[in-house]
């Protein structure tokens, strides 16, 4: 039985993606140019993501590492060629955010966000790199205000998503 997920549909339509989504006529130009679709025999395929998210058919959430949304390499090529000017990548971002919010998605994403939360940087400075920078005649990287970053990310509730 097909169940329409109205909440998913509302979230997609509420996202600031203007009103273009409903004009998708499934021409599959997005699939044509998708580099991941090409090398995975369409195991990842942008076209049905647009169709299903518009219809409210939730085929995206409920699986830890759902390749049908997490296979996107975020190259923004589909956005460029879409004849209806649908901002596909923004829709994919909404879906991925929903996936993360229920504790799914590849570990890479929450691990990186956690590192940023803890250090203010995706890659924390190391003593060896500091020495290398000095050897190369580079100035010190000014350290970010981590306390302020954490205060900000508490205000956006990222700490709850990351269970911090």
């Amino acid at each position: 039985m097909v169940v329409v997920d109205y909440e998913l549909r509302k979230k997609i339509m509420d996202a600031h993606i203007q009103d273009t989504l409903k004009y998708c006529y499934q021409c599959a130009r997005c699939t044509d140019v998708c580099p991941v679709s090409k090398v995975t025999d369409q195991r990842y395929n942008p076209r049905p993501i647009i169709m299903n998210s518009f219809l409210g058919l939730n085929t995206f959430i409920g699986e830890k590492n759902n390749f049908s949304i997490w296979g996107c390499t975020v190259c923004d090529t589909c956005d460029e060629v879409c004849p209806q000017k649908i901002e596909l990548t923004e829709i994919f971002t909404v879906l991925k955010n929903m996936s993360i919010a229920v504790g799914e998605g590849p570990d890479y994403y929450t691990t990186q966000a956690s590192t940023i939360y803890d250090n203010g940087k995706a890659i924390p400075m190391q003593a060896a790199i500091e020495r290398r920078r000095k050897d190369l005649g580079l100035p010190m990287v000014e350290p970010p205000n981590v306390e302020e970053v954490q205060k900000l990310l508490k205000a956006t509730k990222l700490n709850i998503i990351l269970k911090k």
Partner: protein, 295 residues
């Protein structure tokens, strides 16, 4: 003539904290060309692929916070990285053009005593070099790189989504090619020039990522390329650090040196390879340095 503009340098986490030799070449090239920069305590941009996929609101807020740091000094930002560039430019664009979004983010920024005003601009270093002028770059060159064939790879976030980025043609970028050509090196035409390096999907699964990379390499080699020229540290790491993995998957040897545009320019300006740490490349530069008689 107006006083030369000083930019806030945004080297980003990857270049600054992992592969600083890229920054060394960029700073030396900027010095030779009279491009002035200064530092600021920026946090992660944050990553438009990773962090934005995790939580869009946090991505906007963090990006806006970095912009307020540059705004407080009334200076534009120059980014050495496609990812940082896309994040900062896209956040800046969104908040400058969407009053509702700006109000929401400023409500969040208020908790740390900051306010986004929308008073500065964000540039990719390729734009800064290009706007300086090809003639000005040419004047600073000492070594002719004629005979060297390279594959140019701008990477995705340099110029897409084009409506926001406005850097170059989204599917046929010319600025990188034109700067490379000034050195005497020849940018080859290759079928997969617009193909992504594949780094993004690599966060989820390795094989498709390496397959995309192998396809890119094969296409460039077919067109006679002896090296790649890139302008993004994520592409750089994917192509340099992961080249061996792509070779294993493809069952062949590519052996392609990956040069950052600023490294190519530094070499053409007569800066010694040792002074910009080319020894830190995984794919050795030996073949091209010998060909060009650069020591």
């Amino acid at each position: 003539m107006a006083k030369a503009e000083e930019y806030k340098m945004f080297e980003g986490c990857t270049i600054g904290n992992r592969i600083p030799f890229i920054e060394a070449s960029a700073r030396k090239v900027f010095d030779k060309l009279g491009i002035k920069t200064s530092e600021a305590p920026f946090a992660c941009c944050p990553d438009p692929v990773g962090f934005n996929s995790t939580d869009h609101l946090s991505w906007l807020a963090m990006g806006a916070r970095n912009l307020t740091i540059a705004e407080s000094e009334a200076k534009n930002i120059v980014s050495l990285c496609n990812g940082c560039f896309q994040t900062l430019k896209a956040v800046n664009h969104e908040l400058k053009h969407d009053e509702h979004e700006k109000e929401k983010i400023n409500g969040i920024l208020k908790t740390i005593g900051r306010e986004f005003k929308g008073t500065i601009d964000v540039y990719h270093f390729v734009e800064v070099l290009y706007n300086l002028g090809l003639d000005k770059i040419k004047e600073a060159l000492k070594i002719d790189l004629s005979g060297l064939k390279v594959a140019c790879h701008t990477g995705c976030h340099y110029n897409r989504p084009s409506e926001i980025m406005q850097t170059d043609d989204p599917m046929n970028p010319v600025k990188l090619r034109e700067i490379v050509a000034v050195t005497g090196a020849t940018p080859v035409d290759y079928e997969e020039e617009m193909l992504c390096c594949g780094a993004g999907v690599g966060n989820t699964e390795e094989e498709p990522s390496m397959q995309i990379l192998a396809n890119k390499f094969n296409s460039a080699i077919k067109a006679g390329a002896e090296a790649f020229v890139v302008v993004c540290p994520a592409c750089f790491q994917q192509m340099d650090t992961n080249q061996k993995k792509a070779e294993q998957l493809a069952g062949t040897s590519f052996g392609l040196p990956i040069l950052y545009l600023t490294e190519l320019l530094a070499l053409a300006m007569g800066i010694k390879p040792d002074d910009i740490g080319v020894k830190f490349h995984r794919a050795r530069l030996t073949s091209i340095l010998e060909k060009l008689s650069i020591k």
